[in-house]
């Protein structure tokens, strides 16, 4: 199915009173950077291109939110232009936060009330490296039907090809049909999409040609070698930026703002890179040294999350690389570990 860009804009305008709609826009300070903003009629949004600066978790697992009592709002939301690296991250967050025994109250509310319209990448950032993780820069429909996108839209020329991912997506499509002209995609459109996919994959492969996609992650566990990790972490300034910007990091601390027996608890993102993170009262810490904390992030993403959720904690979005003030490149770290 196909919808024109102007019709899509009309669709958002029609829904903006009933839904909070978030769409990527160029940021004020850097046109190359995209960031989610609430739609209020501004048609200069950028649906495709590449990932936003802000990871998807900022909309589902807020940097700081009250959990006692839960503060998430039940207003319906639509998040548009989510890229595959963030959809994959949502799978990790779902596994961690909607677990059988314990369900994170706010995350559940945000998740249940949100529709996701994903989009294919049509361009890359220098840090994008999903292909090194066997991921694609666009979502593909799953055989078990458990798609992370409700609708996916794929730009072809000045229109969008729509793919329905879930029953929630069907509902959105019904709403879209009320105000937009929906036509059928032709075989020429499908061919164009395939060509676009091949082109973007090629571009990603070129950007990452210095790095081998054949990565062995067991070396992270096995190399409990102080010298290697000390060397790799020399430049780290322990800002915690890599973990805050990572779409799958969900570590938090709980702060108490209770007054007498009126209990209030606020959870705020935390970072395993900070020295107080694992320290217990009395001063003992399993990761007292910087290199141990630095290694922990790699251990967590590539070994522990894989063991816990059968999914890697890295989706190849490259945000940790873009954000690191010391210029540490996760790809280089993994690569040099292969060579130890």
């Amino acid at each position: 199915m196909i919808v024109s860009k102007s019709d899509l804009n009309k669709f958002f305008e029609n829904l903006m009173n009933d839904f909070d709609i978030f769409i990527p826009y160029e940021t004020e300070f850097d046109k190359d950077n995209l960031s989610y903003r609430k739609f209020s009629g501004d048609a200069n949004f950028v649906i495709s291109k590449y990932r936003t600066v802000d990871p998807i978790k900022t909309l589902f697992y807020l940097p700081s939110e009250m959990v006692v009592p839960p503060s998430a709002k039940e207003k319906k939301r639509i998040i548009v232009g989510v890229k595959n690296c963030d959809l994959l991250a949502l799978e990790v967050l779902d596994a961690a936060l909607l677990e059988d025994n314990f369900v994170e109250p706010n995350y559940k509310i945000w998740r249940e009330n949100t529709y996701i319209i994903s989009a294919d990448c049509t361009d890359t950032l220098p840090t994008c490296h999903c292909v090194l993780l066997d991921n694609n820069p666009y979502p593909t429909k799953k055989s078990d039907g458990k798609n992370m996108f409700d609708l996916n839209i794929n730009p072809v020329d000045d229109k969008f090809v729509i793919t329905v991912g879930t029953p929630k997506g069907e509902k959105l499509l019904e709403l879209m049909k009320k105000c937009c002209t929906i036509s059928k995609a032709t075989s020429a459109d499908r061919e164009k999409i395939e060509a676009q996919h091949a082109e973007i994959r090629k571009k990603l492969a070129d950007i990452n040609s210095d790095f081998s996609p054949d990565r062995k992650y067991n070396v992270i566990s096995e190399s409990y070698d102080e010298t290697t990790w000390k060397e790799l972490s020399t430049e780290c300034v322990e800002c915690g930026g890599c973990t805050n910007i990572c779409p799958t990091c969900y570590c938090i601390i709980l702060n108490d703002e209770s007054e007498k027996d009126c209990f209030r608890k606020i959870r705020t993102w935390d970072s395993c890179q900070l020295s107080g993170y694992a320290r217990v009262a009395g001063g003992a810490s399993p990761r007292a040294k910087l290199w141990e904390r630095f290694r922990n992030r790699y251990q967590c993403k590539f070994v522990i999350m894989k063991e816990n959720f059968s999914k890697l904690g890295c989706t190849g979005c490259g945000r940790c690389i873009s954000t690191c003030p010391a210029g540490i490149d996760l790809r280089e770290v993994i690569q040099s570990l292969q060579e130890v």
């Binding site: 369900v103 969900y250 007498k260 217990v280 009395g282």
Partner: protein, 273 residues
């Protein structure tokens, strides 16, 4: 589904000073609070924060609960200022406790040091409740000095049971304090145990260094790795495996523990720190 962070109000009924740094708080949660021995709770000091503790009263007591706390950090210093009549918050219980089914009919050794006696008192009182189910209970408790030994007034009660064999040691006897039992780190008591260790179970709780050498001593004595149970102290924040602070390799101390058998975790990194 219920909010896993939900906090219950708990009235402080009594505060008992156990040692210069340790107090026991008797609290009454606003509704019945069930837990299994070895599980932990998160105790809130309103406006200050919360920290994980294992109750020290029997799990058969469901209306009131004792929690023994050492003054060692930010939250526990605030807890120590709490008085009878004040209000605390409690949530939980979390984690897996001691697998009592596997203790039935066996000789049990309880090895504890310092404030590590707190969860072990919970276990001991629970075992005493069903004492006919167990073959024998050997209790080895250590403290730095006589005045650091907690639950002083309760040992005579426990000694009344034929099945309970109680041994205590202190690291040293400072001037002015009196002690007529063993002197030395708690593992010195292991020379005096009289059970067949091959089929016995052991439970260890105490400061990290004591847990480490205590466990090694038990292995030396012939206890099997799978029969040694450790109560691990890590930074348990949320209590259910979401905040990740207490991760020990692939395990979470809060969710998969805090009680682990030694064979389960001996190959994980840095378990003693």
């Amino acid at each position: 589904m219920a909010n896993p962070y939900e906090v219950l109000k708990a009235d402080v009924l009594d505060v008992i000073t156990e040692s210069p740094t340790i107090k026991t708080f008797r609290i009454k949660p606003e509704k019945q609070f069930e837990f299994e021995t070895g599980q932990f709770v998160e105790l809130t000091v309103p406006g200050i924060g919360e920290a994980p503790f294992t109750p020290s009263s029997s799990h058969y007591e469901k209306e009131e609960m004792d929690i023994t706390i050492m003054k060692v950090g930010f939250v526990t210093e605030a807890v120590h200022r709490v008085k009878r009549g004040d209000v605390l918050g409690i949530r939980g219980p979390y984690g897996k406790g001691y697998p009592l089914d596997k203790f039935k009919g066996k000789d049990i050794l309880i090895l504890g040091g310092g404030v590590g006696l707190a969860p072990l008192r919970c276990l001991l009182l629970t075992l005493i409740h069903d004492i006919d189910d167990y073959k024998s209970i050997t209790v080895c408790f250590g403290a730095r000095s006589p005045e650091d030994m907690i639950y002083k007034d309760q040992f005579d009660d426990w000694r009344k049971y034929d099945k309970i064999h109680l041994l205590r040691s202190v690291d040293k006897i400072p001037e002015g304090q009196h002690w007529n039992e063993k002197v030395g780190v708690v593992t010195v008591l292991m020379d005096d145990i009289k059970i067949d260790t091959k089929d016995a179970v052991a439970v260890v709780c105490g400061p990290p260094i004591m847990m480490k050498f205590g466990t090694f001593a038990l292995v030396d004595k012939g206890f099997k790795d799978e029969n040694i149970y450790l109560s691990m102290e890590k930074k348990m924040y949320c209590g259910f495996g979401q905040c990740r602070h207490c991760v020990m390799g692939k395990y979470y101390a809060c969710k998969d523990g805090p009680v682990f058998s030694y064979d389960m975790i001996k190959n994980e990194e840095k378990i003693w720190e």
